[in-house]
Symmetry: C2
Subunit: 512 residues, 2 copies
């Protein structure tokens, strides 16, 4: 069978895993029966456990689904400590269901797979040695990749049923009231972990900072927590911040950022009360800086900024250019500290952020979204999962989710080194072209042909050349040539779900 | 059959309603499967409905369970508007499941019962004409009275399955992000209503104040709300405040308050980091004032204050005498305003406050609790539901829940007018004597005999005479005589649940 973006899907796996192929970006109005966890009743007075070894012995059994969050990013000290104990305990056949996997976890995941401890994985993404390992057939069962909103959906549907969640926090009291805003290793919003805290049958907090009862604000509540484990350190504060914190000086990135800003300011969405999600990284920060100046020049204020939040965005809040900031995660300490002190920054969970099966998620209200791409093809389909060599080296993150915004802009260079970004067909379809509106490269922009309104609005703007995407693709090809087709085995190493839980594409084992 | 407090329970009703009799105040460690609501998926863009009539037509069907909150207390303009429309629509056989019923709702409830619109009620309590009506057999099916914690438990178990919740709020945006802190008719914490918002299949907000999207802080979230209805006024700010806001000048109340303070300060619980719940009313405010001075004199600070919060308690927070305030409801505008601005005041839902089937509720951590009583008997059983005439005129509130604190003090005058408070047997057992530690009257105190530690600690304190409770009962009887026994019919008009969902007592129809 095929998904609506024309990708062949393996019948056997689709049937075995009870999957439907991706059909449409429209979610419609289904009626959903949510699920709920079991609660082991107690007064909460005996939650403190001395060691990870003890809590693992008390909670994890063969065949269970365990989860972690990735808010510590590459400063995470929790995942490896817990997995070490689980592997050493000889536990087998676990499903690993973290909000995402960061590079610092790679070696341990590979070891756990080899030991038979982990036999299934669902994640937002994976990179580096783990992506390589999986792409070369290291895990027997296919990885299930889900966006942040889709993970929330899957948890709320019961598609992911978490038996034990291990959640690291920079502060907690003895009953488990916890937040990500106080302590040594702060990261701000606990947005992704709030799903695990609410839906897991057993919730284990790990912290290096047990504070007086009751700890407030309580992002995670004592009513959700079974165990609190004191560890030496939950994370390295210097490695929690993700990506650039400074404005880029790369002329190509600056040019793209400037053109992204032109697209926004000449679109019908740039008016008082508009909303946006810019994301992280040096180029995103540059967009935020250009946008700031345009907002001042045009006396326009935004109603809200959404997503992974950075300090340049909270600066806009403090300047009064943005009225509210909605944080599902914070990418730097500046944004995390600001959430703690500024009442106009609201911590939101992943469901509120982006679950499509909801009574309205924040992403449904977004006007302007800027997203990146490893590849984008002439059908505007975007790949943020695999490299041009077919190897897994990315993450869906909120890409599919935020792409449902009214003006979805993909910001990407035409080529990266000797590799084309704009291609005839992306290696892996993650976000369907149907939800992408404009591609911005350093040479010019391309507009999705179905957006005739945007074509009218954005044509004939000085310094903003508009191309057909096929022309941009040919420009890229002219520069870097036509790569040799990739070779794969028949084996499926990963399923890419669309945010509604259908399958949009798969990843095959690469042939060396 | 009988409950453990020796009350005869009607076998037929107990079996028909699948009830067990009350056995013990110990909750133990059951494993509970929580329930979850249905979600009608949408992007949230069409939630605004023009009229209550329209939203009732879209949501309420014969036989459903509907709910309201009572945070507006006697300033509520929401309940009567909605019920008027439901009665006029000819809808029948509804179960009314509000967090409680206040006097301003009485006439409308009686009309709805007479019309056949309401045929079942579960509530924390009822007073005035409605209590009288029910006590005289006005409702065919028995009312189910539940404490605030027990209502949360029942909702989380599915014992109460809310089809439609009608929740009035002083501010909401067009998607339903709402709080009780901003607008004209503010009441502070939405604690009780948060249960309905989380568990009802359909959630209707009513507000007189639609604010810019996104409204923060979002106590109720857009992910929980189906409809937002604009009404002229949700409440009368002058009538939302409950009970006294000023220190009492009644010498008897002052004497009791002073002795309550003596009991607290001479107990082993009065030490740095202790916690307390004082409640509302002039006498409670007086206790808070005495306690404040004792805390200053002894350089003792409290870790937290819990419950329905008043301004004198938030004043302690601002003075640094209390570190955290946990608000399930706020009894005056001062407390509500303080919750809005003070990060050390945490809004908590009724489950976190007091659900016994939890991973630890706040009440489980309470050291000192001061509660009132209509009657208390020589077994220390407390009645807060019926008058000495057998007529319903009260509410369980958090009484059963908070009584699980380490030092539970009942503060009550020995007699009220010609009616004894301390009696051989209370008219209706609401809170079992097993969870009550000390009775404080204006003549002296009585200590539950099982608390030998408190008898040792509190004997021989100047100005704090200690009696056997039987002696206090005889003193009361000597003053007001022995009342004629009440006469009832065989008909049960109300079941009193203990907080774990068992039945502790019933209320019979009074004979005129």
């Amino acid at each position: 069978m095929k998904s609506k973006v024309n990708r062949e899907l393996p019948d056997d796996l689709m049937n075995k895993l009870d999957y439907k192929p991706f059909e449409t970006t429209e979610i419609g109005h289904p009626e959903i029966q949510r699920v709920a966890p079991k609660v082991h009743v107690s007064t909460g007075d005996d939650k403190i456990v001395d060691s990870i070894k003890q809590v693992v012995a008390d909670t994890v059994k063969d065949g269970m689904t365990i989860s972690f969050h990735h808010h510590f990013r590459n400063g995470d000290f929790v995942f490896n400590q817990v997995m070490r104990v689980i592997i050493d305990a000889g536990i087998k056949n676990l499903t690993l269901a973290p909000s995402s996997l960061t590079g610092v976890m790679n070696d341990m995941v590979i070891e756990a797979i080899k030991a038979g401890t982990i036999t299934n994985i669902t994640s937002s993404g994976m990179r580096g040695s783990l992506g390589d390992f999986v792409s070369h057939g290291g895990l027997k069962n296919p990885v299930i990749f889900r966006s942040h909103g889709n993970r929330a959906r899957a948890i709320e549907h019961g598609d992911i049923k978490i038996d034990v969640a291990f959640l690291g926090v920079p502060s907690a009291d003895r009953l488990g009231n916890a937040n990500g805003m106080e302590g040594n290793a702060v990261f701000g919003s606990l947005g992704y972990a709030l799903m695990d805290a609410q839906y897991a049958d057993q919730v284990v907090l790990l912290t290096d900072n047990i504070v007086d009862y009751p700890n407030t604000p309580a992002s995670i509540k004592q009513t959700q927590v079974d165990y609190v484990v004191k560890v030496d350190k939950v994370g390295d504060p210097d490695k929690i911040g993700s990506g650039a914190t400074r404005f880029t000086k790369d002329p190509k990135e600056l040019k793209i950022a400037s053109m992204v800003n032109d697209v926004i300011t000449h679109s019908p969405y740039f008016k008082d009360g508009f909303s946006f999600q810019t994301g992280s990284g040096g180029a995103a920060l540059a967009v935020t800086r250009y946008l700031r100046q345009s907002m001042i020049d045009n006396q326009i204020k935004a109603s809200f900024a959404l997503g992974g939040i950075t300090k340049p965005t909270t600066d806009l809040l403090n300047e009064g250019l943005v009225k509210k900031v909605m944080d599902v995660q914070d990418f730097d300490k500046g944004a995390a500290d600001s959430m703690h002190t500024n009442g106009n920054q609201q911590e939101i969970d992943a469901s509120w952020y982006a679950d499509p099966d909801n009574k309205g998620a924040m992403v449904d209200q977004l006007d302007v979204v800027i997203l990146s791409a490893l590849e984008i093809d002439t059908k505007f389909n975007v790949n943020v999962m695999t490299g041009s060599d077919g190897v897994i080296r990315g993450a869906i993150g909120g890409h599919q989710d935020a792409a449902t915004g009214k003006l979805t802009i993909i910001s990407a260079p035409l080529v990266r080194g000797r590799i084309a970004t704009v291609v005839p067909d992306v290696t892996t379809v993650v976000t369907p072209g149907d939800s992408v509106d404009v591609l911005v490269t350093e040479f010019g922009i391309a507009i999705n042909p179905k957006r005739t309104d945007l074509i009218a609005a954005l044509s004939n703007i000085p310094g903003l050349p508009v191309y057909k995407i096929e022309d941009l693709q040919k420009m890229a090809e002219k520069r870097v040539g036509t790569p040799k087709p990739l070779e794969y085995t028949d084996r499926t190493v990963a399923m890419i779900e669309y945010r509604d839980g259908t399958v949009i594409d798969t990843v095959k084992e690469v042939k060396d």
